[in-house]
Symmetry: D2
Subunit: 316 residues, 4 copies
């Protein structure tokens, strides 16, 4: 279960970055000062919705969106996401939190309260191919991804120019078999220093260690360049070409211990024919990859994803 109480940051971000992030005006920003999201998962039983909605009503909240899902109404698990507006959210925040606690306990809830205007801090890892990185940066610049991007890390220097032209700090940390452990130590230190909430692997071609995955459990999103579970592992386009598939795809998923087997967030495909060679498959695939990854990241940012066992519940 991923939901947990919301974490707040003491803001000691590098000044340069903070100044920068304020230069973009985000489309969603204005009217969301009083908007919050409540994410819940608990054993299903009658009365959950009644209690939650009664609570919100008493707090003066107006529900804007509400989604729920039960694996089985009789004895399954119940998942809920409520988006609501509440006057003077900033001053109410702690009260809201404390007063919900008894309901959470009554229903044995795993829950999280998240403020819409508090941007998540997203680090991006990238290797040589920039298409996914660029799509994220572009949508971010354009206000379509409501996040902070405090830092971008790469095992190659290629993306440096692209990244720094936007005023985002870029760290080049080469990784070889021998330096891998040390490289991860540096990466983790940077992530901590920049108070990163979650990490996006935007075609980062290194496998992270168990330890790294544990620290950012359910907080690392990867894009795999195939329609999983087809073509797990390396060189999926070459293998798609060999197999002669008529559609190629891409999969965004949370990273777990088992390579390419974490919970799938989003997938998409595109039609190809016998005429396409591996290079052309890669070129078409790159378009799918960047679209799929950007969609998954936006859902993560908007708290639309709950994880249950090895699957995601996405409340679109």
């Amino acid at each position: 279960m991923i939901v947990s109480n919301t974490h707040t940051h003491v803001s000691n971000v590098p000044a340069k970055e903070r100044a920068h992030s304020r230069t973009y005006s985000f489309v969603h920003g204005n009217h969301q000062a009083n908007r919050a999201r409540l994410l819940i998962s608990c054993p299903d039983q009658p009365g959950i919705v009644a209690h939650v909605s009664q609570f919100l009503y008493e707090q003066g909240a107006n529900i804007v969106h509400s989604n729920q899902y039960s694996t089985d109404p009789e004895s399954g698990l119940f998942f809920m996401r409520v988006e609501f507006d509440i006057p003077d959210l900033d001053t109410h925040k702690n009260t809201l939190h404390n007063q919900f606690q008894p309901i959470a306990e009554k229903f044995a809830m795993d829950w999280k309260l998240s403020l819409a205007n508090q941007r998540k801090r997203m680090a991006i890892f990238v290797s040589k191919e920039e298409h996914c990185l660029r799509e994220l940066l572009w949508q971010w610049q354009n206000g379509d991804l409501y996040a902070e991007i405090p830092v971008i890390i790469s095992n190659h220097p290629i993306a440096k120019k692209t990244v720094e032209s936007l005023g985002v700090p870029f760290f080049h940390i080469p990784v070889t078999r021998d330096t891998k452990a040390e490289a991860e130590r540096q990466q983790l230190k940077i992530l901590e220093q920049y108070q990163v909430d979650f990490v996006v692997l935007a075609r980062y071609m290194q496998i992270l260690s168990s330890n790294f995955n544990q620290i950012y459990k359910n907080q690392i999103i990867n894009i795999h360049h195939s329609f999983l579970p087809a073509f797990i592992g390396s060189n999926p386009y070459a293998r798609a070409y060999e197999r002669g598939v008529k559609l190629i795809g891409a999969t965004a998923h949370y990273v777990t211990e088992n390579l390419d087997e974490g919970p799938i967030i989003e997938q998409d495909v595109q039609r190809v024919t016998h005429q396409y060679d591996i290079e052309e498959l890669k070129r078409i695939g790159a378009q799918i990859e960047r679209t799929v990854l950007a969609r998954a990241v936006s859902w993560h940012l908007e708290d639309r994803i709950l994880i249950h066992q090895n699957k995601t519940i996405v409340f679109e």
Copy 2:
């Protein structure tokens, strides 16, 4: 607003038909004896969800699905669909209805309570082209459309064999400019006699009168063979060919006074190229038409559609 109190039928259906409809076992049928759906629309204000869910909780209901939508949380309209299980629904039904009335009044709700195991009675109108009719009959036979089909009416005799082989009464009512009014009188009489709830125009190539539309207001679903609002009117495939579009489509919509301008329920498209002549567009289009219509009909049967002004809210 379409929602209204549920209409119940005194069951005087022709015996043959009733016997017939019982011969199919519907996949959704078994576990739905205690399932109901509440459809609500009303001015948005805080407290609606709280009151509705509190009410259901007190009735001992377990919410299975719940969807809501507001055109504007501040001063808009609010739409809700709740699907729930409640023990001994049959005996509770009237109580449920009566006890909800005060809440409905408090919030000025337009509302409808619908029992999942009470199949809607659907008439199908068809002309010469059978592909949409067949898709509906097939999905119905297969248990994918949970409906009664008491009667099928056509202005041509072509579909007679297909229809009667399934034991469904078929009426051939020819329509010419001169006989149109009389033909509609016959049609309406048959619909009444067979206690039809709603009508599907499965490529029925006659325009119904204002009077007919009024009697079955928001209860007639048509399939138009284009991606509306492109190619309103006749011969859409020929016009799509002339225009050189790269996608052709189909649109299922509720019928209103204005031809092809009623609320859209569902649309889909398929890619075509310069190589396709009009006949091939028709052949491809036929596949889209039957898929789109069947999807729209299934949503109508499951009370997933609310109408607001000239648009639909579809709770999938």
Copy 3:
């Protein structure tokens, strides 16, 4: 390489069937009396197209469609499909065949000349689920699949009524582990007796023997209910559900020795969400299966598919 000289049948089809097949008027039938298709594969080198088109020109042919593909213009394999009209095709057929022989030899061609108005004889194998069978029969009835269907075989009696209502002979041949060899002997005897050109496995849930596959090499089309190579083997929908994929699919392929690993002809997918249980995945999947299979069969019937190694070249 699949292409081979065209096989012609002495027509001793059961009278009933032949009478039947004439009762449908096929849309493509009329104008195709003089239409032929030439399928070629050979090592690529300059001059192939020049020689083939010069030959057709001299024969008085008018090229209607022409497609070609080369794995590598320098040293690869070349594939070509030419569709052409030629006056008095019936009387010219043998001449055409003989006079092309020297060109075929010059370029070491594997080739086949196929007459558009000579319908291929297709047997359908089915088990319990009828949706793919029905789609094929329906499109066939409607003239969209230009084939003869001399016989349908099943290991269950379920489809008997559907099949015989269309006047097509139906054979129920049960298969158990013990009777499998004998059952295949019967099946093969029937296929021979009805002069079947190719076999469609329309959700036939038995694995054919090596021997069977050899006899109808590249002439058996199967529909697998997943997006191959994901979920090879049994219960793909259950496994798709377990894995939490966001798209489900179906794959039509030629059958080879290795289960679900033959050359892919066509694939398609549809979006699903966490809300769909296994039954719903099956229901949605059934729609994809029948569409994908019907498309693959129509391409086979129109000689649009060449096989190269384990892949198909589809000239749409």
Copy 4:
């Protein structure tokens, strides 16, 4: 008919630009030094393919791709695109041209010979919204669009920074009702000075004059933000919202006298629901627009598009 003899430029491009364009290595560049494309349209009759392929064979060419289409083999128009490799293309070019002339005359061909390594010079016009511009620039930088971009013109200063960071000259030419004629004079002068072959309107929100369209006849590509012919004219997203469509789309087309009615090159759509407000439709639509426009531009660059009456033949 658009095809015409190829136009060659005396190269007097501004030095800065030329230096710049050489800094990108294009993926398709290396192996295309000896590749040419022949585009033909003429009345259909037997022998065209035979003569063309015989000619290419005699010239020592190896055909790489060949596509053809006939509106009607009996008395229609014939369209052909042949892509071929020929040794020492540079030295052969004029000979090739001259020697093909007799064949072209024999069949009354409209034709064009185009060298794959000769990049077309593309100007981009843009207003305030940068998403289409950026997609084109990005794909161009990445080598996916094999073009020169000598100049970008806008009626707003917004895109200046984006454009100049890539070293491409940017001209801000404001347009008001009063200055429109003068503005067009300036635009045309710049296009001439930079030897522009064709113009892409990447969300350029001004209507070009008849005169402008005539000068760049069939050489102006526009992106319209709807699925044409639905929502011709202004504010298509607002109108799509009003109509309640379930798919929104975008259309790339050549510009003609009649607004939004020129030959359609490419279209695509994406599913939306009742939940999307106009702003969200715009955001989703922006993704479709940039994909559709980039695809249309790449086909234009690769000489894959022929225009016939008001329709395109796209040889993919």
